[in-house]
Symmetry: C2
Subunit: 281 residues, 2 copies
């Protein structure tokens, strides 16, 4: 490709930029970034060749990659489609899909847009958190491909496969449901665990010293930014509420078993939880 | 040292054995292991030079390391102290300390025992899960050192420091409280999260495909064995219940904010949770 334009040069956009450059996928990389200090940082790091205003950045792009928080996407994606010409492809990498697809359902250029969600990302934010090889070996989900032009879908799949990703296809509603189970609830659990321990454990030095007992693992995601995650929880509220209810029920069951000192049932539940070992390596 | 005897050749005991051998800390490594297949596996892996019955294994040991589940420790530690001679040192690596210290409080050889808890360990079990360098850079807690002979404490600290650990001292009750906050609740949270997702997500292939969205991180501990963890929850029940109550409260607060669509407060709570970033690198 001659030019790829990345809108949003944070952890995800920046990591796309690194991989695209290292693998020689595009002749030119252009960025759009509202945060001025992020924009200059991205240029210093060499993530993109130029940072431009949206209109100019779109003009010569073969592929336009949208990597901003999912609430901002609802505003920006229709604006991009207003400007897009036939032959250009637009993709996003948001963690929720239904609201965004609905927002452009009637747009005359809808078919140039491909909805996707690469299941990759770390807890750090900003262009400084961009890392090479982030996507390698992970899955990327394409949603509602019947709404997109076949050549646009091919362009997006080619990019993901060049980055080493395996492809999965899901209907948007189904995606959001699975994402609530397998990603969003983990973040809420982690935020809650961090708050629990911060509230209970006034001695921060102790947390630091003893965190290798498991806390560091379960609480890693609690470093994730509210700017990215609150819009996700807002858009996927009903699914997240459903899974959160179930999670609170399971924890309450453990609580009740402790109160009753029913350690046999406690043992059985852990045995069942261990079943996850067969699914996750 | 001439001989170190390790009682329990699982993940922790086996990892001690590997490091002790690689760093040339003991001339001879002897194991005690009730599970016959674990015993032969440990010999095949070269973790120890010999596996012996308890009595014989203790006879010539300079240091005796107890790495079995904490309920079994309550039975075995007094038996060991019955057999121990002056000059020998006994240490354990259990995740709860108060019950064990209480169990040998009146034992005439109490001073040969040093209570400790190295804050290290993975979710896998058995001698096959032994790994080198497990303890490097982590903290180890020594409890109630005033009950132990100074030379015994020195022997134990020397071992931990040779393994690259930093030392922390805590009173046993205080240790168990901190361990509930910083380790035990993380395990309950992780077991519960695994059960929640297994209950909600019938399609195991989807879990596998999408787990890199955060689930793999929060659920890693859910692979931990009930044989090790149920005795910990039993011994530390009151502290764990207290922290679990608080954790359910925090999750219920998130739930209530979602129901009320109060995303501003949701944002503030995540900001507070992000504070953990300043404590954990």
């Amino acid at each position: 490709m001659n030019q790829i334009t990345i809108i949003g040069l944070g952890h995800i956009g920046g990591s796309f930029a690194k991989d695209i450059r290292e693998r020689g996928i595009a002749g030119k990389l252009v960025g759009v970034e509202a945060n001025e200090s992020h924009a200059s940082q991205a240029l210093e790091l060499g993530l993109v060749d130029q940072v431009m205003p949206l209109n100019e950045a779109l003009a010569d792009a073969d592929l336009i990659l949208l990597t901003i928080p999912v609430d901002a996407m609802l505003q920006v994606l229709p604006q991009i489609l207003d400007l897009v010409k036939p032959g250009q492809t637009v993709m996003d990498a948001g963690s929720t899909k239904e609201a965004l697809i609905l927002a452009v359902r009637e747009h005359p250029m809808r078919s140039r847009y491909v909805a996707s969600h690469p299941m990759a990302g770390r807890e750090n934010s900003g262009p400084g958190a961009a890392i090479s090889g982030l996507f390698e070996g992970k899955c990327s989900v394409i949603c509602n491909r019947e709404g997109s032009a076949p050549d646009a879908v091919d362009t997006v799949i080619d990019l993901y496969e060049a980055l080493g990703m395996r492809m999965v296809e899901l209907e948007a509603h189904e995606h959001d449901l699975h994402a609530a189970y397998v990603s969003h609830i983990s973040h809420i659990s982690s935020f809650a665990l961090a708050l629990t321990v911060l509230a209970k454990e006034k001695d921060e030095k102790r947390i630091f010293q003893l965190a290798s007992g498991g806390f560091d693992s379960t609480v890693r995601l609690a470093k994730s930014s509210p700017e990215m995650w609150v819009p996700i929880f807002r858009q996927n509220r009903d699914n997240v509420l459903d899974v959160l209810d179930e999670h609170i029920n399971v924890l309450s069951r453990f609580r009740s078993l402790l109160i009753k000192k029913d350690f046999n049932t406690f043992h059985e539940l852990i045995d069942q939880a261990n079943h996850i070992r067969k699914i996750l390596k």
